[in-house]
């Protein structure tokens, strides 16, 4: 019986090639998106797998109760906890503390920033980060590096025994190299420093301070056979003991609890100071995007199968009089959808291979996951379930035909079932596709706007060069000599990004309100170079820098209009000459007012800004280049760079390019564009199928109307109107919803594009255009058909 089902399924699919093509492509697209999500879910469990004893390894979490009685969970713990656990409780085999941070390392006078973990010796045995060569770092001022960091720091040379320098910890010797870290790991770092390396007074204080619970993480390996309950029971006791002596300011207290390594990823709750494990929320979002796409394809299947019900009705009648009961027929129809769906899985895998190289896919979804047999079993199971679900509705409808009705010999039998359902499904498909399209277009337009908009400062023909320890004054002098260089200025921050450093500034030395202000260091050339306008007062006075390029900070500052408002200083002219206190001891005088410009991303409105002369903070030079001479000038600039800093490659970048890269997230938009395109093509294919079957059943009517003198135009309209109506309804539903979806994204930006006629009109135009083409393609052919063929009597 089963073999019979499968054989019939294959023959049916083969016979109706358009139908099968539409469904296989649609289902494959939907399944592909689901596969991405499934792979990511599998990957989320890989996070826990490579640790040697993950079933008895725990991370301790801190539940902090705030003054408002809100409970907040932290992934981190006070550092002294580990010692108490190991010393006082026999069932604890090992404890490992980890402190994560970022710092700058100096290697051969190169300054390279990297993430590090400071770790206890047990880190190397409790967690599964294996060494490729060398020894674990246990002695003070030793470190183990990852292969990537080794290459970044030392090139191809053997890193073991090499020395790196840091400001905070002094010299550090490399004792070993990790194997390449698993991508699917909840900790990401370039180096593991031994815990005793953190030897400054401040760091030592942290290690005995029960009050600070955000510094580091505590991992505990229980002895084999130890009771987890007991461990879980003692944690609150320790917390109670520890917090008794502490007077908290902004919280009431905390308690501890254990988180098993086996359930660390995917995370069930939001943890402060969280590590890199993905959350259920992220995975659920991915899976629901996949399921929605798949649902669109399932709609097609339901739709087209019901549209063909006429041709299947007779078969149902025959089988019923041959003694088939309903469930047997349902089984047969569902076998068909399962065969189709398993076939679609194969095609989906091919699609998956095609989009695998996309950066978005690698970074966010499937990077570093192995497709093993379990995963394949899940894939196959998933596609079978999809097939069963897709087949269920049509199977119920089709198997419900009554033989006496469908087997009557008279022709002209009309079996149209579920017409309302089919129409609603088409409307739903196009509405979903259209909403996605409007939202995506708003997103893309906003990103493009941020990438190319006028920020109020000059961004074209400005070349930003990171200083990387080259003395600013020398570089500026050299650059000024190159023909084609118009201006050179310096800054601590590139505008149009996160805005840089900010602090509280007061108008009086002590007391009075303080205001949070962004402070950027510039030199006196900056204003002119970046085409900024002074509204009142003067530019920063010229400072004579000493030869090292490190002059003392100037007494004068510039502030923007917003700062004038924030300090409630009144008329700009009166502001000049007033003073501000950067801290208790530093008083500065306002030299001039700068017209407001957008120095952060468009997420924020313009904030108060202070510009002052602080050569120590300079990180970039801005070189303005004359219009004509760009090529030769660039060569000159690179030569200057090479002569001053032969070790480092030239890293200059056009300001406009920087803004573009910072704000246009092309990878993300591309991937989401792909999803939208999939949704749209699934909907169009479904429409094509529906129009095809409908026109086929009406071909005789077309013949009669033509014989009676209807024009091709009238016939196309007759056949198309029903479908055009559906598209219009879909548009009417999707426009307001799409507008809301787009606004939900745009609301995050203080300066954003509007969703106006061009977005909505463009999207609905595309919908009607593509939908219209799909409909017209079929109806035109039907309208051209020769009535003599369709009216020939059977």
């Amino acid at each position: 019986m089963f073999r019979n089902y499968v054989v019939i399924a294959f023959r049916n699919l083969w016979k109706h090639k358009l139908f099968s093509f539409i469904n296989v492509i649609g289902l494959a697209s939907g399944i592909m998106v689901c596969l991405l999500a499934l792979i990511d879910i599998k990957g989320a469990f890989d996070y826990n797998n490579f640790h040697p004893n993950s079933n008895r390894t725990y991370r301790v979490l801190t539940d902090v109760t705030g003054n408002d009685n809100q409970k907040i969970a932290f992934a981190s713990t006070p550092l002294p906890l580990a010692d108490v656990l190991k010393r006082e409780y026999g069932f604890v085999e090992k404890t490992a503390r980890i402190i994560r941070d970022y710092t700058e390392f100096t290697v051969d006078q190169k300054k390279l920033g990297d993430y590090y973990c400071a770790v206890d010796p047990a880190f190397f045995t409790v967690l599964g980060y294996k060494l490729a060569t060398g020894q674990p770092a246990t002695a003070p001022n030793t470190a183990v590096v990852t292969p990537q960091t080794a290459e970044k720091f030392f090139g191809l040379a053997n890193p073991i025994g090499k020395v790196i320098h840091t400001k905070e910890f002094g010299s550090i010797t490399v004792t070993g190299v990790f194997q390449t870290l698993p991508i699917r790991s909840h900790l990401h770092f370039g180096l593991a420093l031994s815990m005793p390396t953190l030897s400054t007074a401040n760091r030592k204080q942290q290690q005995i301070d029960w009050k600070q619970y955000t510094i580091g993480y505590t991992y505990v390996l229980l002895k084999e056979g130890a009771s987890v309950d007991q461990f879980e029971k003692i944690l609150p006791t320790i917390a109670a003991r520890a917090t008794k002596a502490i007077r908290f300011r902004s919280e009431k207290g905390y308690t501890f609890r254990a988180q098993s390594m086996t359930t660390l990823s995917p995370s069930r709750e939001e943890l402060q100071m969280g590590t890199w494990e993905p959350s259920w929320g992220k995975l659920a979002t991915e899976m629901s995007v996949g399921l929605v796409t798949l649902l669109l394809a399932v709609f097609n299947y339901v739709n087209l199968t019901l549209a063909r019900s006429l041709s299947r009705a007779r078969e149902v009648g025959i089988r019923k009089v041959s003694g088939a009961v309903r469930w047997q027929l349902m089984g047969q129809f569902m076998a068909e959808s399962v065969v189709l769906s398993v076939f679609a899985l194969g095609v989906a895998y091919v699609f998956l291979m095609l989009i695998e190289p996309m950066p978005f896919v690698q970074q966010w979804l499937i990077g570093g996951v192995q497709l093993d047999t379990t995963l394949w079993a899940v894939f196959v199971g998933f596609s079978i379930v999809t097939g069963l679900l897709a087949g269920f509705v049509p199977a119920r409808v089709l198997s419900g035909f009554r033989p006496a009705q469908v087997l009557r010999s008279q022709t002209g039998l009309k079996v149209f079932k579920g017409i309302t359902l089919r129409k609603s499904l088409i409307v739903a498909q196009f509405a979903i596709a259209l909403i996605a399209m409007i939202a995506l277009l708003s997103m893309a337009r906003q990103q493009n706007y941020m990438a190319t908009a006028d920020y109020g400062f000059r961004s074209d023909r400005i070349l930003n060069i990171p200083l990387n320890n080259v003395p600013y004054q020398r570089l500026a002098n050299e650059l000024n000599r190159i023909p084609g260089v118009e201006h050179v200025s310096a800054t601590s921050e590139l505008f149009g990004s996160h805005g840089g450093a900010y602090q509280n500034v007061r108008r009086q030395k002590s007391g009075g309100d303080s205001t949070a202000v962004f402070i950027t260091a510039i030199d006196q050339n900056f204003i002119a170079n970046m085409d900024l306008r002074l509204l009142a007062g003067q530019n920063l006075p010229e400072m004579v820098a000493d030869t090292t390029g490190e002059g003392s900070p100037g007494r004068f500052v510039l502030i923007n209009e917003e700062a004038v408002k924030a300090f409630r200083m009144g008329n700009p002219r009166e502001v000049v000459g007033q003073s501000l206190w950067l801290n208790d001891t530093t008083e500065v005088q306002i030299a001039g007012i700068v017209k407001d410009f957008r120095f952060t991303t468009f997420n924020w409105t313009i904030k108060p800004l202070i510009l002052n002369y602080q050569p120590k903070r300079f990180r970039f030079v801005n070189v303005r280049i004359a219009e004509r001479t760009t090529e030769t000038t660039l060569v000159g600039i690179q030569r200057v760079w090479k002569s001053l800093n032969p070790r480092e490659p030239f890293a200059g970048e056009w300001y406009s390019d920087f803004l573009y890269k910072r704000h246009s997230h092309e990878d993300d938009v591309n991937f989401m564009g792909l999803l939208t395109a999939l949704a749209f093509s699934i909907a169009c294919l479904g429409l094509l199928g529906m129009v095809t079957y409908t026109t086929e059943t009406r071909i005789k009517e077309v013949g009669i109307r033509k014989v009676m003198g209807a024009e091709v135009r009238q016939i196309i309209w007759l056949l198309s109107w029903d479908f055009v109506k559906l598209l219009l309804i879909a548009g009417a539903i999707a426009l307001p919803l799409g507008y809301l979806a787009g606004m939900a994204f745009l609301i995050n930006f203080a300066y954003h594009v509007s969703i106006g006629f061009e977005t909505l009109g463009g999207c609905i135009g595309l919908l009607l255009g593509l939908g219209g083409l799909t409909i017209g393609f079929r109806t035109y052919r039907a309208a051209l058909s020769n009535p003599a063929d369709s009216l020939r009597s059977e």
Partner: protein, 230 residues
């Protein structure tokens, strides 16, 4: 074996009802060959469908092997279809996606026969109907007469007690029609299968040993069993 008592069939139409069959009382014995005749719209097909349990009568009682059909469960009725009843249609109604072999096999599948049993049964039928060479062809590759042969082979595959035939030769040339009618006759004679056919043609009706005439839903007369039995 078949007994109708005052069976009527009507459909609601506006405020009243339209009668298709009125007060039919009728008995058919095992081994009979009955022809139902009448003009278009006289209710022949409806009567056949009621007899074949595809439709239910609106009034009256139907006994099939002394069981009241109206009271049978859906499951029991399906059982009867599997084991006691075969159908032959004017439009053949073969399944286009299945070969000749598979079409004949279909009722056996639903009967739950084992694979080897099915094989021998279908082989025997193919042999008997001279269709061995055509067993792997699809219906669209056969002539009308051949398709109807397959239809009959399918109907007798499960060795039913009664075959209901709805104008089995309606779409055929007279040569083919004669062939098919001879086959029915043979099945009736040699295998003892009861046959009830609906037909327009007096010639074909004569193959039966009793003719029922329907007009406007009334059963007009009994044809006294003829003596022209060979």
């Amino acid at each position: 074996m078949i007994s109708l008592q005052n069976v009527s069939k009507y459909y609601p139409a506006g405020f009243g009802k339209t009668y298709v069959l009125r007060n039919i009382t009728l008995d058919i014995n095992e081994g009979e060959f009955v022809s139902i005749m009448g003009p278009s719209g006289s209710g022949k097909s409806t009567l056949l469908h009621i007899l074949g349990m595809l439709e239910e009568p609106s009034e009256g009682e139907y006994l099939f092997f002394d069981q009241p059909v109206q009271k049978l469960s859906e499951k029991r009725r399906t059982e009867l279809h599997r084991n006691y009843i075969g159908f032959v249609f004017q439009a053949y109604h073969l399944i286009d996606e299945l070969t000749v072999y598979e079409n004949i096999e279909t009722p056996l599948l639903y009967k739950g026969m084992s694979s080897s049993e099915r094989k021998s049964r279908v082989a025997e039928l193919l042999d008997r109907f001279n269709m061995v060479a055509k067993k792997d062809l699809f219906p669209s590759q056969l002539s009308g007469g051949q398709q109807q042969l397959v239809g009959i082979a399918r109907a007798v595959a499960s060795q039913p007690k009664v075959i209901f035939a709805d104008e089995p030769t309606g779409n055929l040339h007279s040569d083919h029609a004669k062939e098919i009618m001879d086959l029915f006759k043979k099945l009736n004679k040699e295998d003892g299968v009861t046959i009830v056919q609906v037909t327009h043609s007096e010639v074909n009706a004569e193959y039966g040993n009793r003719i029922l005439r329907l007009k406007d839903g009334w059963l007009e007369s009994f044809q006294v069993p003829t003596l022209e039995r060979e």
